[in-house]
C-alpha cells in the first residue's frame, strides 16, 4: 500500500487509518445507526434482520453477533463507532475495552484501579510486555 504507516510496530493496537476506514465503512455506519433508540430496539428484536439491511460482509456480521470487538476491529471497526454497539447492550466503555484484553471484567477493573497496564515491554512489537501476542490468550490483535 501507498500509505506510510509508522505505527505498525506498536503491539496489540490497530490504528484506524484510511485502509481500515475503507474496510470498515459499513460496519461503522451500522454502529452509528444505533444512536437512535428505535434502531436499537429494532436491532435487539432481530439482530440478523437488522444487520442484513446493511451492505456489510458476512464476516463483519458474525463478528458483531459474536460481540467480539477484536474481531470487529480486524474487519475495519473503530472503537468509537463500536461503542454504540456496546452501549446498546448496556455495557460501559470499561467493559468494552476489557473484553478485548483476554482478562475477566474484574481482572481488568482491578488492573485499572492498580494504575493500569504498564508501558514497559508494550512499546514495540517483540518486547515482552503483557499486551504482546505471545502473552495474550487470544493472540496479538
Amino acid at each position: 500500500m501507498a500509505l506510510d504507516k509508522p505505527y505498525l510496530d506498536v503491539p496489540g493496537t490497530i490504528i484506524f487509518d484510511a485502509d481500515q476506514s475503507r474496510k470498515g465503512y459499513w460496519l461503522n455506519q451500522f454502529c452509528m445507526s444505533l444512536m437512535k433508540a428505535e434502531n436499537r430496539a429494532r436491532f435487539k428484536a432481530d439482530e440478523k434482520a437488522y444487520l442484513d439491511e446493511w451492505p456489510m460482509s458476512e464476516e463483519q456480521k458474525r463478528a458483531v453477533q459474536a460481540r467480539d470487538l477484536n474481531w470487529c476491529m480486524r474487519t475495519g471497526g473503530n472503537i468509537y463507532f463500536l461503542a454504540k454497539l456496546g452501549a446498546t447492550d448496556g455495557l460501559s466503555f470499561q467493559q468494552m475495552a476489557g473484553s478485548m484484553t483476554g482478562m475477566t471484567e474484574e481482572e481488568y477493573r482491578n488492573m485499572m484501579i492498580n494504575g493500569g497496564r504498564a508501558i514497559d515491554g508494550n512499546r514495540y512489537v517483540g518486547e515482552d510486555g503483557d499486551a504482546q501476542e505471545h502473552r495474550q490468550p487470544q493472540g496479538g490483535k
Binding site: 509508522p6 505505527y7 506498536v10 503491539p11 496489540g12 493496537t13 490497530i14 490504528i15 484506524f16 487509518d17 484510511a18 476506514s21 465503512y25 461503522n28 455506519q29 454502529c31 452509528m32 444512536m35 437512535k36 433508540a37 436499537r40 470487538l69 477484536n70 476491529m73 473503530n78 472503537i79 468509537y80 463507532f81 461503542a83 454504540k84 454497539l85 456496546g86 452501549a87 448496556g90 460501559s92 466503555f93 470499561q94 468494552m96 475495552a97 476489557g98 478485548m100 484484553t101 483476554g102 481488568y108 485499572m112 484501579i113 494504575g115 493500569g116 497496564r117 508501558i119 508494550n122 512499546r123 514495540y124 499486551a131 504482546q132 501476542e133 487470544q138 493472540g139 496479538g140 490483535k141
Partner: protein
C-alpha cells in the same frame, strides 16, 4: 477588545459523566476524582467567562465516516446533546456564540487554517463532560460555548505543531473581536488511555506528568512531539492530547507575553480506562 483570560485542560472520560448523572460521584471509586475538581468549580464561579471556546473531539457522534473534518468550528446558535447509545445525558443544551465563532472562523481561515464551518451538530461527552467537571450540575451552563472539534478518529490527526499554531491564530482572532469580553479556551481529551485491543488499559503515569510539566513550561517543545510518540507512550487514544496544544497556543506567553500562572494541577488514575489530567492556567 476581547481577550483570552485563561486556559483549562481536562480529560473528558464518558464514565465521569455517567457517574455524575447517576449520582455516584460520592462513591469511593469516584470521590478522589471529583475532589480534584473542587478547586476548579469554585474558580469557575469566581472567574466566570463570557464565552468558553471548547476544543474537543467528536467520538463518531456528529461526524460519521461520510465526512471527517480535521478542524470544525460550531457557529450555530445552539447545539443539542447527543444520544451516544446510552440515551441523552441529562445536561443543559449548549448555547453557542455565533458572532464570535464566525469572527474567529473568518479570521483563522484568512490566516491559512482550513476550517469546516458547522451550523448544526449534536455534541457528545467530549464537550459535555468537561463542562460538568468544571460547572457541576447547573440548570444552564454559565455562558455560551463555541464547540471546536478536532479529528482524532481517523489517522492522521493534525500534528501537535499545527494545533499549537492554530491556538496562536485563535488568540489573534479573539483579540481582534471588537467587544469587551472575557474568553476562556479549554483543551480536552487524554491523558494516557487505550480503548482497544490487547493493549487496552495502558496508563503511562511518568509520560503524562512529563507532558504536563512541558505543556506548562515549554509548550513549543510539547508541540514538537510526533504523532507516533503519543500512540506508543500514551496509548492509541492518548493522541487526544494534541487538542491541549490548541488551548496552550492561545496563551499570552507564546506571543511574547508573561508566563501564565498555574492555578491548579491534578492527576488521577483511573477513571474507567483513562488517566485523568487537569490544569488551569491564567494569563496575568
Amino acid at each position: 477588545m476581547a481577550r483570552i483570560t485563561a486556559s483549562v485542560y481536562t480529560s473528558h472520560v464518558p464514565a465521569i459523566g455517567a457517574a455524575l448523572d447517576l449520582g455516584k460521584s460520592g462513591d469511593d471509586y469516584w470521590k478522589p476524582l471529583f475532589a480534584g475538581y473542587d478547586y476548579s468549580r469554585q474558580w469557575m464561579k469566581d472567574n466566570r467567562p463570557d464565552v468558553i471556546f471548547l476544543v474537543y473531539n467528536d467520538h463518531a457522534t456528529a461526524f460519521s465516516l461520510d465526512m471527517i473534518p480535521t478542524f470544525a468550528i460550531g457557529t450555530g446558535a445552539e447545539f443539542a446533546i447527543a444520544d451516544e447509545g446510552w440515551g441523552q445525558r441529562p445536561v443543559p443544551k449548549v448555547v453557542g456564540h455565533p458572532e464570535l465563532a464566525s469572527h474567529i472562523a473568518q479570521s483563522v481561515i484568512q490566516d491559512d487554517f482550513d476550517l469546516t464551518i458547522v451550523n448544526r451538530m449534536e455534541v457528545d461527552h467530549g464537550l459535555t463532560v468537561p463542562l460538568s467537571l468544571m460547572c457541576g450540575q447547573p440548570d444552564a451552563w454559565p455562558c455560551p460555548v463555541i464547540p471546536f472539534a478536532v479529528n482524532v478518529v481517523q489517522y492522521p490527526a493534525p500534528s501537535g505543531r499545527r494545533c499549537f499554531q492554530l491556538g496562536q491564530a485563535i488568540r489573534r482572532a479573539v483579540e481582534s473581536f471588537d467587544r469587551d469580553i472575557n474568553v476562556q479556551i479549554w483543551g480536552t481529551g487524554g491523558m494516557s488511555h487505550q480503548l482497544q485491543g490487547p493493549r487496552a488499559g495502558l496508563i503511562n503515569r511518568e509520560w503524562d506528568n512529563a507532558f504536563l510539566d512541558q505543556l506548562i513550561a515549554d509548550p513549543a517543545a510539547a508541540a514538537a512531539i510526533p504523532h507516533i510518540d503519543y500512540v506508543r507512550e500514551a496509548g492509541s487514544e492518548g493522541i487526544e492530547l494534541v487538542m491541549w496544544l490548541i488551548a496552550r497556543g492561545a496563551m499570552a506567553d507564546v506571543n511574547g507575553g508573561a508566563a501564565p500562572t498555574l492555578k491548579h494541577r491534578f492527576y488521577h488514575v483511573p477513571a474507567s480506562n483513562t488517566a485523568v489530567g487537569h490544569l488551569i492556567l491564567e494569563n496575568s
